[in-house]
């Protein structure tokens, strides 16, 4: 109760600039008002014959307080308190020099002054003034009663005066405090709010300056707001007022800038849903050194879209890192492949380079270009060169409808491949060709030499060594088949190799082997069922594949057998008919299987399914004077047998 009273009576210590200004003005006015009392009191003294000079002297003495106070105190509230005392002093002088018939009326002046003191908005001023009057009355009543009353007043008269002063003071205290709270103090509250806002703005600014993302809002004409994060300025330079977002983007990507402008135009048109249009705004802008992702959030004012918040993230480093990671992975794959099978890798590089050259040769028909790209994809896939596989796959998609190889695609393919092969040569230099001779073959020859074999026989055997054992090729395919089966969730496929010691000229057979990889892929991808399906058909869950080479007379017979689902000829027939291929006899039907572009798979995968693969095999076999035969039992197995003259003409 007491403390509440005290907090009501005593103002908060902080003096706002507004209050200081106000009091300074009031204090000036008050001083002028006080000075006016000198002639006034002199006049009253003259009229009442109470001594003009004495009145002037005492008034000047009383005025010295208000005149000196501003020099003595810095705090304007202290000055007003001095004014409170001085005001009452002047009231006392008026009563004193107004002695005579009007003396009691002169007491009104105390009440007038108490009322005027409310302008200082300080209860303490009122209290001090009231206390001054009370003291003044008590002291003079005891020592100099004629200074107060023009009759024989009792102490009760003093008490009556005191009660009136008390009443007015109470009211004046209340009014001055209310005045302070609702006018001077309100300014105080506003000031506190303002500084809080300032603090919030500062911390928001700090956040915007330090956040990695770019934030900016723009209206539907594209005009940017001035508030934005520092990153935005870093990417797009300083933004002048009324600058549009399209102009910022234009420095990086003209097309994206146009897209964004048209997108905003669409938003302003309000014809299509906001959600749809926001997804159609450009989401990534990249040039050679910077890649930025854009995200957009709608801002509504009065239920209508008014602005768009644009959130920009720098993804340059992330993209670079991802690219670097995938490159590193690919390098590892190259390294493994090259270490594991040097000759194979050399072949791959030669073959792939030849394919790229053939695909980009000006006279190559489009169907052949597509086939080369497909073969390249297959070859890269076997070595798990994922980035090249993806590149080829995308190229195939783009070329699907093309009737000729666009120049841009040609350039891309060539530069892509040369970048790849440069990388490869960086690591390995030029790989030398290596002869494969097994210990058994060596021991066999040694034995023959020790047993005195004729030099022609030895020479023939050594010459054979310069040929490539099919074992190397078949083992390589076996490895690839297992890896592919794993990738396609077909389990631990069992691959058997029967090479029968066959050796073949390497260069002459290289194209054949590379096309043969299509056959291997087909066996795994199309032939073998998934483990669940196999179990349902009472087969062991993992498929079995066997790869073989054998010399039969003048022919080499290369075979691949799988125990998968077999070929569904009626499906092949349906597809063939769809494409207008004649399939009246069973020979024609099996030929149809090798037709370019015929596939029974609905969606092409990375591994196979464009119907290009088998066509390539048949083309090469025929060039080498050989033929392909297929035997299949639906639901049980497929055997592909390729028969090629050992010393073929090509």
């Amino acid at each position: 109760m007491i403390s509440r009273l005290l907090t009501f009576l005593i103002l908060p210590p902080h003096i706002s600039a507004f209050e200081r200004n106000y009091l300074a003005r009031m204090n000036r006015i008050a001083r002028v008002f006080f000075l006016a009392h000198a002639p006034l009191l002199a006049g009253v003294a003259y009229l009442c014959h109470t001594g003009v000079l004495k009145a002037l002297a005492l008034t000047c003495l009383m005025l010295s307080g208000p005149m000196v106070a501003p020099l003595a105190f810095e705090n304007p509230r202290h000055i007003t308190r001095v004014f409170g005392v001085a005001a009452m002093g002047l009231g006392a002088l008026l009563v004193h020099f107004g002695q005579g018939p009007m003396q009691i009326e002169m007491h009104f002046y105390f009440f007038v002054l108490l009322g005027l003191l409310v302008v200082f908005a300080d209860p303490v001023v009122i209290l001090i003034a009231a206390a001054t009057v009370v003291l003044h009355h008590l002291i003079l009543f005891a020592t100099l009663p004629p200074s107060l009353f023009n009759y024989q007043a009792s102490i009760w008269s003093v008490a009556v005066h005191a009660v009136f002063v008390l009443f007015e003071s109470a009211a004046a205290v209340w009014v001055s405090r209310t005045f302070f709270d609702s006018v001077l103090g309100l300014e105080h509250v506003v000031e506190a709010r303002t500084s809080e806002l300032q603090r919030q703005t500062t911390s928001l600014r700090l956040m915007l300056d330090n956040v990695g993302q770019g934030f900016v809002t723009c209206d539907l004409r594209g005009v940017l707001s001035t508030e934005r994060s520092a990153s935005f300025d870093r990417w797009f330079g300083a933004i002048s007022p009324e600058m549009r977002i399209g102009d910022c983007l234009r420095t990086l990507d003209e097309t994206a800038a146009q897209e964004l402008e048209m997108g905003l135009e669409q938003l302003a048109d309000d014809v299509l849903p906001v959600e749809l249009l926001l997804t159609q705004l450009p989401s990534r802008i990249a040039n050679h050194s910077l890649a930025l992702d854009f995200d957009y959030k709608p801002i509504y004012t009065d239920n209508a879209l008014s602005h768009v918040l644009v959130i920009v993230s720098d993804v340059t480093y992330r993209l670079e890192r991802e690219r670097a990671e995938s490159e590193a992975k690919e390098m590892l794959a190259i390294f493994e492949a090259a270490v594991h099978d040097r000759a194979g890798f050399v072949d791959f590089m030669k073959e792939a380079s030849a394919l790229v050259a053939a695909a980009t040769a000006p006279t190559t028909p489009m169907e052949t270009v597509k086939r080369h790209v497909h073969t390249l994809k297959g070859a890269c896939g076997l070595l798990q060169l994922t980035s090249m596989v993806t590149f080829c796959h995308e190229l195939e998609e783009r070329l699907a409808e093309a009737t000729e190889l666009p120049l841009a695609e040609e350039v891309r393919l060539v530069s892509r491949w040369s970048a790849f092969s440069t990388k490869f040569t960086h690591i390995f230099g030029r790989l030398e060709e290596v002869l494969h001779v097994s210990r058994a073959e060596l021991a066999d020859l040694l034995k023959a030499v020790e047993e005195g074999a004729a030099s022609e026989v030895v020479a023939e055997r050594l010459k054979q060594w310069t040929l490539e054992p099919t074992a190397v090729r078949l083992e390589r395919f076996a490895e690839q088949a297992r890896g592919m089966a794993r990738r396609l969730n077909k389990g631990a496929v069992e691959v058997r190799v029967e090479h029968n010691g066959v050796r073949l000229p390497r260069a002459a057979w290289a194209p054949f082997w590379s096309s043969f990889s299509h056959v291997v892929r087909n066996a795994i991808d199309h032939g073998l069922e998934l483990p669940g399906e196999r179990l349902a058909h009472r087969k062991p869950p993992a498929g079995r594949v066997s790869l073989s080479t054998v010399v039969e007379g003048d022919d080499v017979v290369i075979g691949i057998v799988d125990d998968g689902r077999g070929i569904n000829w009626s499906e092949v027939r349906a597809r063939a008919v769809e494409r207008g291929i004649s399939v009246r006899t069973s020979d024609e039907l099996s030929l149809a299987l090798f037709e370019d572009g015929l596939t029974t798979l609905a969606t092409p995968t990375h591994d196979s399914g464009r119907g290009v693969g088998l066509g390539a095999v048949r083309a090469i076999c025929e060039r080498m004077g050989g033929r392909v035969q297929i035997q299949t039992t639906l639901g049980q197995s497929t055997r592909v047998e390729i028969r090629i003259p050992r010393h073929h003409a090509a």
Partner: protein
């Protein structure tokens, strides 16, 4: 049956995708396989509420089609929205000048396509 919408696209897959989404939303879809067919359908179905039109098509492409529509049927009030794989600014600017209300980029989310159509034909 709901309002009629004419879908002009040379790709059967694309037409089916749009038709599926719109039929599920209660619209009647009329398919046209190129610009010429599109114009024929527009003439045959004057009560159509909307034309959804692909840009790249053989014979008569989408933009030529709507330009022709504006020329030959100046009183036609059916809103047209373009369906396009690439939001190529110049192309779209032309489409807009020819009177297209806007464009939807393929591939689209079905619910967004339906929302767009609802807004265009004035269904809430």
């Amino acid at each position: 049956m709901g309002k009629k919408i004419i879908v002009v696209d040379d790709s059967r897959t694309a037409r089916q995708q749009v038709a599926q989404a719109l039929e599920a939303a209660g619209y009647e879809v009329l398919e046209a396989i190129d610009g010429n067919d599109g114009i024929a359908k527009v003439i045959a179905h004057e009560d159509a509420a909307l034309i959804v039109c692909d840009v790249n098509m053989p014979n008569l492409n989408g933009i030529d089609m709507i330009e022709k529509l504006r020329r030959e049927m100046p009183r036609l009030r059916v809103p047209i929205v373009m369906l396009t794989t690439e939001a190529h600014p110049e192309l779209l600017q032309r489409a807009k000048l020819a009177g297209a209300k806007g464009w939807i980029v393929k591939p689209f989310k079905q619910d967004l396509l339906v929302a767009a159509v609802r807004k265009l034909v004035g269904d809430k």
